[in-house]
């Protein structure tokens, strides 16, 4: 394997997950405060030990968080640009901060609260601009509607079947069945899938993820100090970020290159991540892939090299992403079945898998891939490992 890890996740904390809007009257910062305090406690640290904050997707009111938690000595507070695509890049910021001495204990924070707004209609939430006027003309109000255009194109170019989308959802439901934290725990049959109404043909309602509220936080510290903490360290083998005009604003503009259009935008970040860590897809034991929409899981499996471009459909239909398959995907049920907190639950699952405490434990899991969401660039991804 490549370079030695420089940092590790030593604390993991979360609020309960709530159905869309039901976390009120707590404010989103209250949810964040709770997750941070839980993560710090899990790390066996005191809140005064926190001297760094890392965010993505425009972050939160840093000053307010510092005030509410009474932080007195924050020497690093930074945010990955992009939307959900920046999620895993937050670990890169934390890794940089603790490995260069800019901070000792960085808390990575992500949250969502959908009161009076819906992530599923995110494209309609912006003020009119010379660019987004075209989405309005088309009637593309949400990411799912826009990504259905890519899903159809993937079917057209590669013969991908709706049965493959169904398998992604069914595998997710099968995993969620045993999860107390999951909203959709009832197993799904192919017949039920095929009978569901289309929301954006070729995507039916089951291809769309949940819309939920919650906050999660993770404490990252330098690798050489990680073993002093009570929990088994989950090392950041590497985290990568990549932006390119080939993918650009993705579904916000739909001007990707023809190759990128039928991808999840992760090809370059995957290349960079594998190069950085000296690892390959064959070294990954669990894949926690950002599953806002089921076809995008198939495209990410291709982007990250678990199968060739265009073969993602047959690959998932073969059972490869089940718990006992070639590459177990989202054993926590992911966004499709457990909860949606902008990818943060995927880091939590990776941590639990590598601590050996996951509800659906992949036997002997030592490495986990975590991806940011296929969304406007930069795209990010990370590999976590149980050994440095």
């Amino acid at each position: 394997m490549g370079r030695k890890a420089q940092s590790a996740i030593v604390g993991s904390g979360a609020t309960p997950y709530y159905f869309r809007g039901e976390s009120a009257p707590q404010a989103v910062l209250e949810l964040i405060d709770k997750a941070v305090l839980a993560a710090v406690a899990d790390a066996g640290l005191h809140i005064d030990d926190v001297d760094g904050l890392a965010f993505f997707a425009f972050g939160f009111d840093t000053g307010m968080i510092i005030e509410q938690l009474g932080l007195k000595n924050v020497t690093f507070a930074h945010c990955v640009s992009a939307f959900g695509g920046g999620m895993a890049g937050m670990l890169d910021l934390a890794d940089m901060a603790v490995s260069t001495g800019r901070a000792r204990n960085v808390v990575c924070i992500g949250a969502t609260q959908q009161v009076g707004r819906r992530v599923g209609q995110a494209l309609g939430n912006f003020a009119a601009s010379p660019d987004n006027i075209f989405h309005r003309i088309a009637g593309l109000n949400g990411p799912g509607q826009a990504l259905a255009l890519s899903a159809r194109r993937h079917m057209h170019e590669f013969g991908t079947r709706r049965e493959a989308f169904a398998e992604v959802v069914m595998a997710s439901r099968a995993a969620a069945a045993t999860r107390e934290t999951a909203f959709r725990r009832k197993p799904l049959s192919m017949d039920e899938y095929m009978a569901a109404p289309m929301l954006a043909d070729p995507m039916c309602k089951f291809d769309f993820c949940l819309e939920t509220d919650g906050a999660l936080a993770f404490v990252v510290t330098a690798a050489d100090r990680a073993r002093d903490r009570p929990q088994p360290p989950v090392y950041i083998a590497g985290a990568a970020q990549h932006g390119s005009c080939d993918w650009g604003r993705a579904f916000f503009w739909l001007g990707q290159t023809p190759e990128a259009f039928v991808s999840a935008g992760g090809v370059k970040v995957a290349e960079r991540l594998y190069q950085l860590t000296g690892m390959t897809p064959a070294d990954i034991d669990v894949a926690c892939l950002y599953d806002h929409f089921s076809p995008l899981v198939i495209m990410q499996l291709e982007d990250f090299g678990f199968c060739a471009r265009g073969e993602g459909g047959p690959f998932v239909e073969s059972g490869a992403i089940r718990l006992d398959g070639a590459i177990p995907v989202n054993p926590h049920g992911g966004h499709l079945s457990e909860a949606y907190v902008v990818g943060m639950t995927h880091i939590r699952e990776a941590v639990e898998q590598l601590r050996g405490t996951a509800v659906n434990q992949v036997q002997g899991a030592r490495t986990a891939l975590v991806t940011g969401g296929p969304a406007p660039t930069p795209m990010t991804a990370a590999i976590l490992r149980s050994e440095p």
Binding site: P130, I137, A138, Q145, L149, R153
Partner: protein, 142 residues
């Protein structure tokens, strides 16, 4: 039979800037034109301030030729059993690299296919005209 609707754009306010303005001006004349770089010839879309290929600013607005469906989706309309909305991405034979986000009108979703040629139609918005597309077969009907 299901049919895709023609949305009502009467109240739609088209946001424009200096670079996108010619697109809407050509639209008033019933033509889709796209900006090509005066230096390297590459089309760019959106009509931004720089050519992503050579960083030149100046463009000329060129005719785009036959439009074709690159992909599309079918959106249900609440309370309507036979009406749908059909967002589409259209490409142009003479403007490689450009993809226009629009809507297919009067189309039968069961017969629409990727690669189909489509005809342009223009619908009035509050401050300009919007380019929409119809499959040529149903276009003849009108």
């Amino acid at each position: 039979m299901r049919l895709s609707i023609t949305p009502d754009f009467a109240a739609l306010e088209i946001a424009r800037d200096a670079w996108s303005e010619p697109f809407w001006q050509w639209g008033e004349q019933g033509e889709v034109r796209m900006p090509a770089c005066l230096h390297c010839g590459a089309f760019r879309w959106p009509a931004g301030p720089f050519c992503p290929s050579c960083r030149t600013q100046e463009v000329e607005w060129r005719p785009t030729g036959q439009a074709r469906i690159h992909t599309f989706t079918i959106l249900p309309i609440s309370g309507e059993a036979t009406k749908v909305r059909m967002p589409t991405l259209v490409e142009f034979d003479d403007a490689p690299g450009v993809r226009l986000v629009s809507v297919l009108v009067d189309a039968d979703p069961d017969t629409v296919a990727i690669g189909m040629p489509v005809a342009i139609d223009w619908i009035a918005a509050s401050n300009g005209k919007v380019a929409v597309f119809r499959t040529e077969a149903t276009g003849d009907r009108a």
